[in-house]
């Protein structure tokens, strides 16, 4: 499956409301609420538990340990090159489950809408969520809608909570990482952060950057089949590679080394991030995962990644080293080294 194009989404059974905009009554629990739920959410998400309109979804348990993840989403702009808040909300939670070794199965969706929010836009978001959930093989089984008075919200907030199942034999975590292990990423870094920021800052760019937002459970499953000794996985969202690399080494008796020249980078992202004064290694991604794997399985993991549509530009970017302990570092193309520091603040434009 490819990223949803708005044309294709628009062609799908449209659930057109009688109203152009969201009203307070859409969240009051009355007739309008029921209409919105039945005509938009149930009709679009179309899962059996949802159609029953019960107070709770009752779900089958395929066995194994349960993984539970929740995330709330707000993004400006709501629609950005390469995605939208709906795809982001579904993919984000799917990825949080998948990196834990879980197979994502169910999801709940809660909307906080501001009075006056455009109904057609909401419909687009909902269809994008359905599209992404289908791609990830996740059923949306429960939901909630609240409407905030005008001025008390920021258009649309979405919370998603996902449930997945982890087979008993899966043993992933920083605790099983060893010096010598290899560090992989599934493609170019910083695409989402720089794409959203360039749009938000109103940069007049001749070529549009696209966010990488995507559900990665398919790619991760392929990697784990090819490399059974995957030690650790984490999606590289806010704070990017720098944040995750530092989380991995924190209080550990090993370090993580990244070879600058091996980190895949979109040429445009590189240029724009120089203009913005932002390090792409610290910028957010929404479709990238860092995988740490036993050294003898690194090539197999890389091949599996590259065979997947979301891993074409995957690379082995570094390794786990004995020393320095507890430090994430970058080795430059010139052989010199520097610390890869934990990002500490919102990324702000610099003077020059």
């Amino acid at each position: 499956m490819s990223k949803p194009s708005s044309d294709r989404l628009a062609a799908r059974a449209p659930a057109t409301s009688r109203y152009d905009t969201v009203r307070l009554s859409h969240g009051s629990g009355g007739k309008l609420t029921l209409e919105l739920i039945e005509e938009l959410f149930v009709a679009t998400f179309s899962s059996a538990p949802l159609e029953e309109l019960n107070d709770a979804a009752v779900l089958a348990n395929p066995g194994g340990r349960i993984a539970l993840a929740t995330d709330s989403h707000t993004v400006k702009p709501t629609f950005f090159p390469g995605g939208d808040i709906g795809r982001l909300a579904v993919a984000g939670t799917v990825n949080d489950l998948a990196v834990m070794g879980a197979t994502p199965a169910y999801m709940s969706v809660a909307f906080l809408l501001e009075e006056g929010y455009d109904m057609a836009e909401l419909e687009r978001v909902v269809r994008s969520m359905k599209h992404t959930a289908d791609e990830a093989g996740v059923a949306i089984v429960a939901g909630d809608t609240k409407v905030l008075g005008r001025g008390h919200g920021d258009g649309i907030f979405i919370n998603t909570t996902g449930v997945g199942f982890i087979p008993d034999e899966v043993n992933l975590g920083v605790g099983v990482v060893r010096p010598g292990d290899k560090v992989l990423v599934n493609g170019t870094l910083g695409d989402h952060g720089i794409a959203v920021m360039s749009r938000r800052e109103g940069l007049d760019l001749s070529v549009e950057l696209e966010s990488d937002v995507a559900p990665l459970n398919g790619l991760i499953a392929a990697v784990r089949r090819a490399a059974p000794n995957v030690r650790f996985m984490r999606d590289l969202t806010r704070g990017g590679l720098a944040a995750v690399a530092n989380e991995v080494v924190r209080r550990q008796a090993f370090g993580l080394r990244v070879f600058d020249a091996r980190v895949p980078m979109n040429e445009l992202v590189e240029q724009y991030s120089e203009m913005l004064g932002i390090d792409p290694m610290l910028a957010a991604n929404e479709g990238k995962v860092m995988v740490i794997v036993a050294p003898d399985e690194a090539e197999a993991a890389l091949t599996a990644m590259r065979a997947h549509q979301y891993g074409r530009r995957a690379a082995i970017i570094g390794d786990i080293v004995r020393r320095p302990e507890g430090v994430a570092l970058v080795e430059t193309a010139y052989g010199s080294r520097r610390v890869l520091e934990m990002p500490i603040e919102e990324q702000l434009p610099r003077i020059c």
Binding site: E201, D279, D319, V321, E331, T332, I351
Partner: protein, 395 residues
């Protein structure tokens, strides 16, 4: 350095100036000249972007042991006097006012004590002002501020104009072309050369060469640094890619080895000896040089850009002078134990300040040099330059 850079000297090809082979060749050249000198040499750059690039590419690690590069007064955020931060804060809390600023100014503490905090001696920044209801917005350029002023004709829009020669040119260009009358600027632009003229008079000054700030000399030209060469200090214009920085260092070492200090231009693809005539003309029409205080250092004559009379209407300090509280503007004393001034003058390394990394960190900066990515303390902290070595033991 034309032998090294020959054939790649024109056009915008940043990749060429990052090429590992060129870097390695310059590294060998630097080692060879330094070896011939048979003693150690201290150089200084005076540009925050140079410090940032030295950290990002770990360039100091590529130099021979005897060659050190110190950071001088080159970070506009760091040298901006607390009074201007206090002014910005006060204006941001004014009714119907939007305060616009470059992002890296927002977290800089001024000298107004921040009440009600548990962290001890903490001074207020624009971020604190925003948290207290001030309308503070980060912008990329003064033109963003102008756009905001056009969109909000019912409000006063103030642009916190911080920066050196390079940044102030855009402000001059904009003011010449006319701005909405609800836009004013805080005049906190600094002119670097006069500060560098004073450095050789400092006690214990032992810098033998300056890497000149590539962006700034693109505007001013190189002539303004002749007084340094006349005092026996080597000078070379430095660009910002690894090859540019190393080429400048090699050019300085050559002059030191020859005993012939002058103003060299290994960044000739952008820098002209007389600078950018049109930019200088526009700058001179709008601004005049006046004394200005460099934070924690001193008031330096003719080193600040102030609006000339025909443009004074755009001065925020003038427009709001009647309602400003002089006590708040002056603020408190400089935070105790902060040695940013010595860091800025290249007299100590950041890690020689006891606050570095303990009381003063990037997420809770005590002094101005820990705030901006171009601040020397911040760059040292971010890239771990204060660590003796980053020795790696791989499997």
């Amino acid at each position: 350095m034309t032998d090294v850079l020959g054939g790649v000297a024109s056009g915008f090809q940043p990749e060429v100036y990052k090429a590992p082979a060129l870097v390695a060749s310059l590294q060998r050249r630097i080692a060879s000249i330094a070896g011939g000198l048979g003693r150690s040499v201290k150089l200084m750059h005076i540009c925050g972007t140079h410090e940032h690039e030295m950290g990002r590419y770990a360039l100091r690690a590529l130099l021979p042991k005897g060659v050190s590069v110190l950071a001088g007064p080159g970070c506009p955020v760091c040298v901006c006097d607390a009074e201007y931060v206090n002014l910005a804060i006060q204006l941001s809390l004014r009714r119907d006012t939007i305060l616009t600023s470059f992002g890296d100014m927002l977290a800089v503490p001024g000298s107004i004590p921040l009440d009600g905090e548990r962290r001890g001696d903490v001074r207020m920044s624009l971020l604190d002002a925003r948290a207290r209801g001030g309308d503070v917005r980060a912008v990329y350029s003064v033109f963003d501020a102008k756009r905001i002023a056009e969109q909000h004709r019912d409000k006063q829009v103030v642009f916190f104009s911080v920066g050196f020669e390079t940044t102030v040119v855009a402000v001059a260009a904009m003011l010449r072309r006319g701005v909405p009358d609800n836009l004013t600027i805080i005049e906190a632009n600094y002119y670097t050369p006069p500060a560098t003229y004073l450095l050789p008079d400092l006690d214990g000054f032992d810098i033998e060469g300056f890497i000149l700030p590539g962006h700034a000399v693109t505007i001013t030209g190189l002539r303004v640094y002749e007084p340094l060469a006349a005092r026996g200090i080597a000078c070379a214009a430095g660009g910002f890619e690894p090859v540019d920085v190393l080429a400048a260092i090699a050019a300085l070492l050559e002059q030191i080895a020859d005993g012939s200090p002058r103003v060299a231009n290994p960044y000739g693809r952008l820098v002209k000896y007389d600078g950018n005539a049109r930019a200088k003309l526009e700058l001179d029409e709008v601004f005049e040089l006046a004394p200005i205080r460099w934070r924690g250092i001193a008031e330096i004559p003719a080193s600040g850009y102030k609006l000339r009379e025909p443009y004074r209407a755009a001065s925020a300090a003038r427009r709001f002078s009647g309602e400003l509280d002089p006590v708040v503007l002056r603020g408190a004393e400089h935070p105790q134990g902060c040695r940013c001034a010595e860091v800025t003058l290249g007299q100590i390394r950041p890690d020689q300040c006891t606050a570095f990394g303990s009381r003063c960190t990037p997420d809770s900066p005590y002094g101005p040099c820990m705030v901006s990515h171009e601040g020397t303390c911040r760059a040292y902290h971010t890239y771990g330059m204060h660590r003796e070595t980053l020795h790696v033991e791989a499997v």
